[in-house]
């Protein structure tokens, strides 16, 4: 179980690509065959190392997209000027090998005993660790109420859309589209603001637990809105990427 996974050194293991699946035109999910993976908590990440024929290597960290007990998966967004993400999203195919080690990070994680209600707020590819939390929530049959509010530029940019559309009951998923909405769009539009949170965020009196992941300005803005709604700062967990 993941609780013991950080005892001692995290060793690099050979990972073989099992499947690749395009989520959007620039985002791909890669499942890895990782023998002896020690298990992980939803929300943790792993490191990958790619090695070229000339011995050059590059390492990156990625959030784990899968729940514990599923094949380990990462979801990678292509950055065109990057060195690793174009390879992972365009060149990689089943059977290819890399190295991986993990799981890493014990803060931005959720287990059923952490309770809730859960408020998950994603910006763009920040949905990846929150998808792992939702899957873990479902797999464990948790009755903790969970809501995901996912901000994407357009419907075509929504990662895991088919999967997320199937949620209901104890886990609800709502989208806000910031740049372009399809005709007849019934979800939210525009950036997340206090009026949107008034409809989505659990009242602070229910002592909710919030996870926010996305680009830095997005996380800064949403975290500030939740603090203004009297969420205690220790119940607002954040993970940010990109420049400020």
């Amino acid at each position: 179980m993941a609780g013991t996974a950080l005892r001692g050194r995290l060793t690099w293991r050979v990972a073989t690509v099992a499947t690749v699946a395009d989520e959007t035109d620039h985002v791909r999910t890669i499942t890895l065959d990782l023998p002896d993976w020690p298990g992980h908590h939803a929300g943790q990440h792993l490191d990958v190392r790619l090695t070229a024929e000339d011995g050059y290597s590059a390492e990156r960290s990625y959030s784990i997209a899968s729940a514990d007990g599923e094949a380990v998966a990462i979801t990678v967004e292509r950055l065109d000027d990057g060195e690793v993400s174009p390879y992972l999203t365009q060149e990689l195919r089943p059977g290819d090998q890399m190295e991986a080690r993990g799981p890493i990070g014990n803060w931005f994680t959720w287990e059923p005993h952490d309770g809730g209600p859960l408020l998950l707020i994603a910006g763009g590819s920040g949905v990846v660790p929150l998808r792992a939390i939702l899957r873990h929530h479902q797999r464990t049959g948790s009755n903790v109420p969970a809501r995901l509010l996912y901000s994407a530029r357009s419907l075509e940019d929504v990662i895991y859309r088919r999967e997320l559309d199937q949620y209901g009951g104890s886990a609800e998923v709502r989208y806000t589209l910031t740049r372009r909405q399809p005709p007849g769009w019934g979800g939210f539009s525009g950036r997340i603001d206090d009026a949107m949170l008034a409809r989505i965020a659990w009242p602070a009196s229910q002592s909710p637990l919030a996870f926010i992941c996305g680009p830095t300005p997005f996380v800064e803005a949403v975290a500030e809105l939740l603090v203004a709604r009297h969420y205690p700062t220790r119940r607002v967990k954040t993970e940010r990427f990109g420049g400020a």
């Binding site: 950080l6 050194r9 690099w12 090695t51 290597s57 803060w107 830095t216 990109g242 420049g243």
Partner: protein
Amino acid sequence: MTSPVSRGFHRRRGPAGAEAGKLPPGQHATTDFPVLSAGPTPHVPLTEWTFSIRRGGQALRSWTWPEIQGLPAETVTVDIHCVTRWSKLGTVWRGVPVRTLLDQVGYDAPHVLAFSDGGYTTNLPIGDVSDGRAWLAFDYDGQPLAPEHGGPARLLVPHLYFWKSAKWVRGLELLDRDQPGFWENYGYNNYGDPWREQRYAGD
């Protein structure tokens, strides 16, 4: 273990500044300034801000914002290395050497725990902050340090991974016995030397 070759992977011309020898193992250079924080960004008015050196929870000495600004500051150009694998080369900071502050209290403790607004902590051996390699930094790139980057003031300890450079720092607790801080309790290395790639517990 020999690393397997990742078919079709090859070196690309790295981003600007990725000069050989300046990047610790496993790092890549970025021209962005990414942010890694565990929670919301705190905001404390400068009129209420103090920096304290404590022992056993008691302040040995506190400085107000104007008092800190009145101390001799240094401008330093350093490379910074985040455990999430980005490095930013040639960053310019202005701040007061931590040594200056420690010298004003007199100290004999082997460890410190830096503490910050928002509850963040990180631990360091005293020698890593008392020998002129650590600053209480309040300007970045000629401007007041932005809140999301730790303003009004953060520690700057560039020879260690950047989580040791505590944002929103409000003081140092002198300790007889080492005590892990926030990320050190959540699986990260106790010391964090990027050149020895001490990212995680056990590295």
